[in-house]
């Protein structure tokens, strides 16, 4: 389960904890179920902080087990990666004229 707090210095992103999701399937479903306004709000909150977030996360192995919200923050960045094409390329949650993403079975997490 995601922590209900983020590492020191990143507390301003706590309104977006709902984006801390553990698999591509969950992140994709969240994107597809969101309005473009909600995606843009998450994007707008994350982007000015990403420089600092990534420099911080570069200090942790991907599978590192931490109890201080590091993984929560990390999973939020993976959600940013998931929704980036929606905001930057499509202007809508789903791929324009796209094949149904639910039919695309991810073998990985």
């Amino acid at each position: 389960m995601p922590q209900n707090h983020l590492p020191a210095g990143f507390a301003d992103l706590e309104p977006y904890l709902e984006w801390s999701l553990a698999s591509e399937q969950l992140r994709s479903a969240k994107r597809q179920g969101s309005s473009i306004e909600a995606l843009r709000a998450f994007y707008a909150a994350m982007m000015p902080r990403m420089e600092a977030v990534l420099e911080f996360l570069a200090g942790f192995a991907p599978q590192a087990v931490t109890d201080d919200g590091v993984r929560t923050l990390f999973l939020m960045t993976l959600s940013l990666a998931e929704i980036a094409p929606a905001v930057e390329n499509y202007g809508q949650a789903s791929v324009i004229d796209g094949y149904d993403v639910a039919r695309f079975v991810a073998v990985h997490e």
Binding site: A58, A61, E88, N89, G98, Y99, F104
Partner: protein, 406 residues
Amino acid sequence: MAPVPKAQARSWTERYPELGTGPLPVEPYISPAYFALERERIFRKVWLNVGRVEQIPQPGDYFVKDLAICKTSVLVVRGKDGVIRAFHNMCSHRGNQLVWNSHGSCRAFTCKFHGWTYALDGKLHQVTDEESFFDLDKAKLGMSPVAVDSWEGFIFINVSAEPAQSLHDYLGEDFKASIAGYPFAKLSGNCFSWYTDVNANWKVAHDAFAEIYHIPTLHRRMIGDVYASKGNPYAHALEFKVFGRHARVSLSANPDRQATAVETLAGRFGDVVLQQVNTDASAFPKGVNPSAYPNWSFDGLAVFPNCLIYVSQGTYLTHIFWPLAEDRCRWEIRTYAPPAENMAQRFAQEYGKCSFRDTLLEDGSTLERTQTMLMSGVKREIYLQDQELILRHRLKTAESYINGNA
């Protein structure tokens, strides 16, 4: 910036006169009779890429590949001696499928039906209540072997009882040399993979990923300017080359591409699938980036009949298309890169993965629509341009197998 070498119009295809330049028939994409011929004369005869050695690193590791087109299920296993073997996934007793899960690790295979047990090398080890059988010769009742071999870490099987040639002869020296030295093993530590069952002939799906012609149009929102540039608006290839039944295309990148904010961010922390610009032509072995072009993007290898391998800097990917019926296939996609060293690098990989997946969803939309209209029978021919050489070559190669001239 070096301009993309200007090929004469239609010159690539015309270098291979046996390919012709005319339209090609729709029939192979819609005909159940043609599908049956593909099964008997291609898929049950040739070497097929079913996975990679990294999937089964330890003795006892195995995976199962259901091959509807070959009318069998194949079990690929690494033995105690480290040797990779393949078998029809079938118990010798009354034919039950021996292994039911897709992959795993074990010391022996035990049939869930009556408990017959097979060693990792396929030998029948133990029969439940053996004394009640009549003259059972266990030495003759091992699992039925399937020919298996590997190349650059890719595992190939051949279900023919006696393959006409070895995997290495099937691939050919020139084709193997064209990619020798590319660091497949080093890049295979982390695999992201998807599959989807598509209501389209496997060749409709294959063709959609075997040409670049569509990218500036279909992918204009996502990667329209990755390969196309001011000097090369139709993303013409640097080079095409035919190696017998296999072929290769080499692509340049647009050095003036405008990356999005997240892509730029990701690019600073790791390699992003399919959006690479390699600026150091000497970074790869001789066969890769064959024109030593300074803004090389990737080479695409078409391994006959159903496998495409795209190699680039720091990452490679494969598409494999498995026929299910004349109008259905399973499309498997795998991207490979070294495991991320830290969470920031993993974010970069995730962006590469998601943007690539979304690009594939753009492709996916054409497949069933194309199949539906081909099945209408309204048009009997398709028209290929010079840059669609890989498709023409694959269609012609298949024709030679179907006609018994391969």
